[in-house]
Structure formats: C-alpha cells, structure tokens
Symmetry: C2
Subunit: 542 residues, 2 copies
Amino acid sequence: MTDFTSGLGKTAANYQALSPVSFLGRTAAIWPDRLAIIHGARRYTWRQTAARCHQLAAALTTALATHGTGTGDVIAIMAPNIPEMVEAHFGVAMAGAVLSTLNIRLDAPTIAYILRHAEAKVLLTDTEFAPVIRAVLAELGDDAPLVIDIADSEGPGGERLGVMDYDAFLETGDPAFVPAMPGDEWSAISLNYTSGTTGRPKGVVYHHRGAYLNALGNATTWSMGQHPVYLWTLPMFHCNGWCFPWTVTLLAGTHVCVRRADVAAIADAVATYGVTHLCGAPVIMTMLLNAPAPVLSKITGRGLAMMTAGAPPPAAVIEGMEALGVALTHVYGLTETYGPVTVCAWHDEWDAQPPAERARLRARQGVTSSVQEGLMVADRETRLPVPADGTTIGEVFIRGNITMMGYLKEPAATEAAFEGGWFATGDLGVMHPDSYVELKDRAKDIIISGGENISTIELETVLYRHPAVLEAAVVAAPDARWGEVPCAFVALKPGASVTTEDLIAFCRANMAHFKVPKRIVFGELPKTSTGKIQKFVLRAGL
Amino acid sequence: MTDFTSGLGKTAANYQALSPVSFLGRTAAIWPDRLAIIHGARRYTWRQTAARCHQLAAALTTALATHGTGTGDVIAIMAPNIPEMVEAHFGVAMAGAVLSTLNIRLDAPTIAYILRHAEAKVLLTDTEFAPVIRAVLAELGDDAPLVIDIADSEGPGGERLGVMDYDAFLETGDPAFVPAMPGDEWSAISLNYTSGTTGRPKGVVYHHRGAYLNALGNATTWSMGQHPVYLWTLPMFHCNGWCFPWTVTLLAGTHVCVRRADVAAIADAVATYGVTHLCGAPVIMTMLLNAPAPVLSKITGRGLAMMTAGAPPPAAVIEGMEALGVALTHVYGLTETYGPVTVCAWHDEWDAQPPAERARLRARQGVTSSVQEGLMVADRETRLPVPADGTTIGEVFIRGNITMMGYLKEPAATEAAFEGGWFATGDLGVMHPDSYVELKDRAKDIIISGGENISTIELETVLYRHPAVLEAAVVAAPDARWGEVPCAFVALKPGASVTTEDLIAFCRANMAHFKVPKRIVFGELPKTSTGKIQKFVLRAGL
C-alpha cells in the first residue's frame, strides 16, 4: 500500500478550521462598496459591516477580559431582525465567544432561566424590550450580565438599562481588530434554546464547522447565485436564521432587515430593493395571500424565491403562491439541525401534474439538503428502516454534519437524542418509494384512537382544503370509549363562514370515517413567535 | 466561562468525515432517472451511474484483496473524458483507494516512472492508448499493475493489454456494494502528477476534505444552480478536472463527455444537449473564435458560461467571447491547489467600462475562491506582503483548505512549498489596490535585463493585441551585455502576415523601450496537453 501519511500532515498552509467568520473577510475584501445591509434609512456597505463586526469583537474581547473571562463565553442578544443581529453573527465569533440569540417573545422568567443556564457574560438588548429585560435583570440580581443597549433609530425607542449604547460600545473597539479564528472547527459558535413547549428550554449548541457547511449547503440546495437580496422575514433568533446570516454574507448578497415582518413591509421591500429570497413560516404565506390587491401587486411576478418550513403548505396556499409567481421551496428541520435539513427537491416533470398532485408532492418534507448525510424513517426501538411504501409510519432520523454538538449541560438528553448513531427527531413520518419523506405527526401529537394511528397533519391538510378555512390544528381529546379522538380547532378566513355540520360532512367526504374530528372549535389559534401553532395550548383547553 | 466541551463530542449522529462520495449517493437517491452522463450514443442515468460506481468499487475491493492490499492503494487511469473517468472519481474512493489520473499525452518512460512512484496496483486504460501502455508495461515488467482495458464504443478501438475489459470487470462487482467512507477526512482521495516541465513529475496528493469543499466552492464561486449541463472540454486527468466531476454530481447536473475537445464537438454538444457550463485553457477560446460561421452560430447567444485558466485571456479574446454571448470567468490555480483557487470576481459596474478596460480588469487573476482562506503577494524571503499598489512585484502565496496534503514521498519539497505557513506558488504578481492579484510571470520565466524585471506576460499581452497575432510567448534569451533580453515567439492567424519590423514597431508604441523583444521568431508554438505553451522548449531552441 502506498504511504499517504508520511510528510503529508496539516500545516497552516493547507489546513484552516472551518468557520463562517472567513466569509465576511473575503466578501468585504472583494466587495467593500457593495450594500451589505439595508434597514429603513440605515445603510451599510460590506466595508462598514466588516469594520463594525471587528469593532464589536474588539469591544467584547476587552469587556470579557476585564471580567476575567474570554474564549467560550456566551454573549446573548435580544433583538428583532436589525443590522446589529447580523453583526452579532460575526462579531461574537470573532471574539472567540458564543452567540445566544433570545426569542424576543419570551417572558422574563424564561429569559432569566436561559441567561443563567448559559452563564451569559454580556447581553445586547434592543430598547424595545426594556420592560421585559428590566424584569429579567431584577430576577438575576448579581448574576446579571453586562448590558449594552441597542438603540435602533428605526425602532420605537425605550428605556436604557445598560452601561452604554451599542454604538458607543463599538467606538471602544478597533476596526482593524484581527478576528479570532477557532483552533478547532468543533468549537461552539452559537447556543439556541428550544422553544420549550414542554418542560424547560434546552440549549442546542452549534459549532463553527456546521455553520460553515450549512451556509454553503443553503446556497447549493436553493441554487442561490452570487448577490442575493435577502429579506429577513424569518427571525434571526430562530436557529440563527437557518444560517442565512452566514449564507448571504458568503454570497456577497444584501441583508434587508425589517423589525416586523408584516405584509406591507414585505411588499415594500420587494418593490423597493428587488428582494430575491426570503424564508418564513406558513403564516407569512397566509398573510401574503390574504393581503389587499395593491399590496399583492408589488410582489406578483417578481420572481421571488421563498423557503418555508414549520408545516406542510396546504394546496390552496401553494396554488396561491404559484399564482403570485413565487417559487416555493418546502424544507423541514429542527433547532437541533441548524434549521432546515431536508428539502422537497423539485422535479421538472412534476410541473405537468394537476394542481392537487403538485401540491401533494410539494407538501412532502423531502430529501436531505446538500451537506447533510443521512435521513431515514425507522422503527423507534429497533432503528430499522420501515418499508419505503408511503404508508408505514416510523420516526424520522437524521445524521451528519448539520446536527448539533448536543444540549448544553444535558449529557443524558444528548445521549438519548443520538442513540444508535442517529438523531431522533421525535417526528413521525413515512418514506415514499421515491425516497421522499413525508411527516405525519410529531411523536407527541399523533392520535391513537381505538388502537389506530391518526395523523393530525393528514386531517389538517383536508381541513385546509375547505374554502372557508384559514388555519386548522387537530389535537387528541381524551375519550372514554376510544382512548383518544381528534378535535379540530379552526380559524376562518375574514368574512367566511361554515357550520360545524358542513365541515364534518366535508371531512367525511375526504377521509376515512374513523378519522373524522369528533369536535370542531372555531376561533383564533395560539402561535409561537415563529408562527407555529401551539398545540399544547389547545390541548390544555380541552 | 461556559463549558462547551463536556458531553458535546463527535458521534455518528453529528459527525461524518467530509467526502465527495456522499454527493453521488444523495443525487442518485433523489434523481435516479435523470441523465447523469452523455457520451455520444452512450447514456447513463444517475441510478445507472451509481450502480456502475458501486460495481467498480466492489470489483476493485476484491481485486485488491486478492493481491493482499486494500485501503490506500493507488488506482491509475489512462483515458480521455469518457464515462469511465467520471465513474473512477467515485468508484475508486468508494473502495477506499486513491485515484491517479494519467495525462494521456505523456510518453511511456514518464508514465512508467509515475506508476512505479505511485505504486499503482491497478491500471484502467482506454484501448486508444494501447501502444504507449504496451511500452509502459514492458518497462515495468514484474512491477506492472493489474491492467483492465476500457473499450469505449465511441473510441477508435485498439489492442487489449489487460486481464479483462472494464465492463466485464464491473460485472464482477455488486451494484449494491456499500461504499467505504473515509474514517478521517484528511485521507488521500487522489494523486495528480505535475506536468514536470523541469525535472521529474511530483505527485500532488488531494484529500477527501479538500475535494468535498472545492466541489461546493466551485458551485458558489461560479453561481452554479442545480442541474448544470457540463461539457467536459477540460481534461479530467488535469487536477481531477478542477473537481468538477464532484461538483456536477453534487448539483445533479449532466456530464457531457467528448473524447476530443474540438470545435465541432463543442458546438454540437452546446446545440444538442443545451450545455450550460464548460472549462478550459485559452486554446479552447482561440479555437472557437477562429471557427467557421456555421459552427459559431451553434454557440452564439446560448448563455454559455465558461471558466478559463492557464493564461490571462487577451483583450481580443475576451471581446470575441463577449460577442458570442459567453460569460467568461477567469480563474487561476495550480495542481497543488486542486485547480482554480482564485477568481476574477466580476463587479457589475465594470460592465460600463470601455472594452479595453474591461479586458484589463478581467485579465487579472483576482481574489480567493469561496472556500479558500488566504492569498497574498509577498516578498519571497521575508513573507511580508508587498504594497497593494499594482506595480510592486512579489511572489503569490496561498493558504487554506484547498491546498494539497503535500508531495508524495517528497517531504523536503513539501516543507519548502509550505514554508512559513503559506504555499509558495512560484508565480510572480502584483496586488492591486482593490485586492485583486495580477500575475506577472512564473518566477522562472521573468526576464532580468540590465537589472530590470521584465514581465513576459506583459509583453505577450501587447503582442496579442496585434490583429495578425494568434499566439505569442516571450522568453529570456542570454545576452552578453544585458544578461537577458526578451525573445518573442509568435504564431500568426491563418492568412495573416506581419513583418518583424512592423511587430517591433508595434511593441515600441505600446511598452517601455527596454522591454521591446530583441528578436521575433514566427511559427507554431509547442504546447502541453492542457494547452499551456511550453516555454522550456522555446528556451531550449535559442
């Protein structure tokens, strides 16, 4: 055998730990005068963005050293999609620290729990959230981190809680600061707390290697060319914005920030800045499709590409988006997988299918993204794949480089999640013969009625097809005879009406009778900050 | 500091050694019926390609085991751009072996040297090359590898030298073979011998990590979307086709093979298969621009994207390609950097420049590709960067993950190349104020005349501007008074004529007088198999 080991080791010339920090240096060197960030009246070129990130890193390095800490410290940020969020995705890593983005809709006790659990040393906080952060700081007392206030000129203003404003903090840092690069790419870059719909939030740790690879994976999976104009409708606090702060920077695109992803803001950004890409939960699509005509006209036919996850888009939504000329890409992922990790990769020949079939195909969660390795639907106990028949339900398992390092300070939970060398998603689905996965339910959402599995997603898909239905969620209601029975919660479109009897009849015409919801409740549906319907709230109300 | 090490280690769920082998499995699973390879009348879908690669890997595994060897063995291939070359880029790695692609224009003694140096265990050889391989085998005697003949139905036929034909060899392998994945991504995947214009060829070792990353880097640097139709004009034996066997597979594109990259074959492939991308040396462009009108009409306005390297394209060539509607991307690299490692990234605002200025901008070698880390022009001794003034000449240095593991069995040469933590390219250039590198010469080509450096590239650029000049190369001629003086070798366009006096006058009008060639020789220029002009041959004739 030829010896490929002697004299062929790693050196500084041929090895560099993978880190998305590299992307900013490259982009700023090549395109210094290109627009990096647009946020209302605020504008930053790549030269300015790099300088601000370097200043942030330098200021953090000094601040952490003053407190006797350094590399591996957690820096938290409480902010909507503003330039400072983009900057934090680079500046914190450049200081050798770990970024923890906080969900801006969380309550004070949960945020206090997270900051304490993460041992956050610095908190960057937008003044809009001063009321909740004031309560957090009171709760933390002497354990409170160093607080820096972000006073966004596009924001509503608000009370200052910290030692100084973000811009003054930047001024303390040198724009020529030399960024820290990780010695080991298997080093934490960010810490994302799960939404914690059950129990306490868990701290999901991402590393530099995964962030780098997923940034590239987003670009190839979504066929993104150079210079996308990316609209920040997906919160950056959610899975680091699916790694798009790094992808858009890699591609020397433009980050278009908005504090609120409402329909008017989206339409204006598309019309004004030529937005090419955006991501978001189905709620974004529902909002768009129900927008008034003058708003819609700003979006129609613009060749916009949208990536959506969180729930399979209903047929009516898919058709509506097609009519707007929006190229929809359906993806699926979890906090534990850096955001999207599967994609419903489209086949050209599917274009010729009738709308209902196109919608059925597109509603599937699909196949692995470019840089992920494995995806299977398997028996939860044996880890053996179920038949690829499109009907046998199993749990969805994932493996590869776009999977978290683990849960911070939860070795038992990490071990359980990774048992058998696969990450157990907790989602139930089927494998189709064409190797596309389709989710059927969360493991905890599936309804077992008289011994039969009932997929709540299947029922919701039928309900969404009814012309009066805006949103639908089905949960299990306890039942003396059947164990559990399906109960549907339905929000109607503005001005629409339908009776319980009519909707039940519609269900009976479109699904096996044992699956038909026994009860239908009309009203607005509770949602998480990322637009997911909170089924646990619905269940609690039963 | 927060502890990000405990319980957050690598597992099979969250870590996989990077390898381009993964791309084939994913693409074949998602797009089994999509066309993977076109070669004349031969057609393979991704399902078929994956099966053939698995069979090759299985057959090689058995063959190597029979000979008491295995992982890390070298498999050599002597073939033009045919399906078997694509298959070898996956099947060999899937057997845990290392691919060495041979330059099909090499002579028998050099090939024998390479096979002995590489300790090749198997040689896959296209029957067209039976005459030279017969001589190689005679020279190797008992050291000859196991030989498998590739009898391409699109080829000219030829004598069989091996134990069996490639297709029969595949038949011995199981299409369901489970590919070997490297345990360590820092493992050799291929071995590329330098062209050895001076001294013996050196064996440049690539690893799985670099091949994976450069495959992604090609896609993002060149804004390639899904499903490119890629024409194989660049030899796959050259730096593993700049890693495009892996890139095109990652993107589920189509490999269009041709045994000879002549103008008719290129035009037919563009017209027939809708080719979107191709790569090649400047000779390809010269060929195209001098093609007859009916051939050109098949290419014009097709939106073709071409990547070129090897020499900065002259202004006339750039303008000619623009007129054809070909989007030209100028890149630069070396065998040691997996092929292209810099790119002349285009700025939209340059479109408004006059043609000569556009050509000047585009002729620069540019900036690092997406996945490379560092590029500098520095003093050879001190490794300190020269001023970014566009005039101070220094050596070009490169660092990052797209740099070879080293030279096989040449630890001293490897150490010298990587001294100071940078790979010394041996090329001389300048750094422009906008951080774009422009090559001025090979270190060994620069002319030192009366103590002044004369860039041969600069002189050639001027000569190329003369309407009668097809190709030009300038080398140093010994001179009693000045030490060295420039001597120009010039090939004229068909039907064109110009006198020595006129050409000298043209030079005097366009460059400093001390740089004007003292002698001009007319005639065809000697070239390497990849289209590079062989200056050492010209020098030897002086």
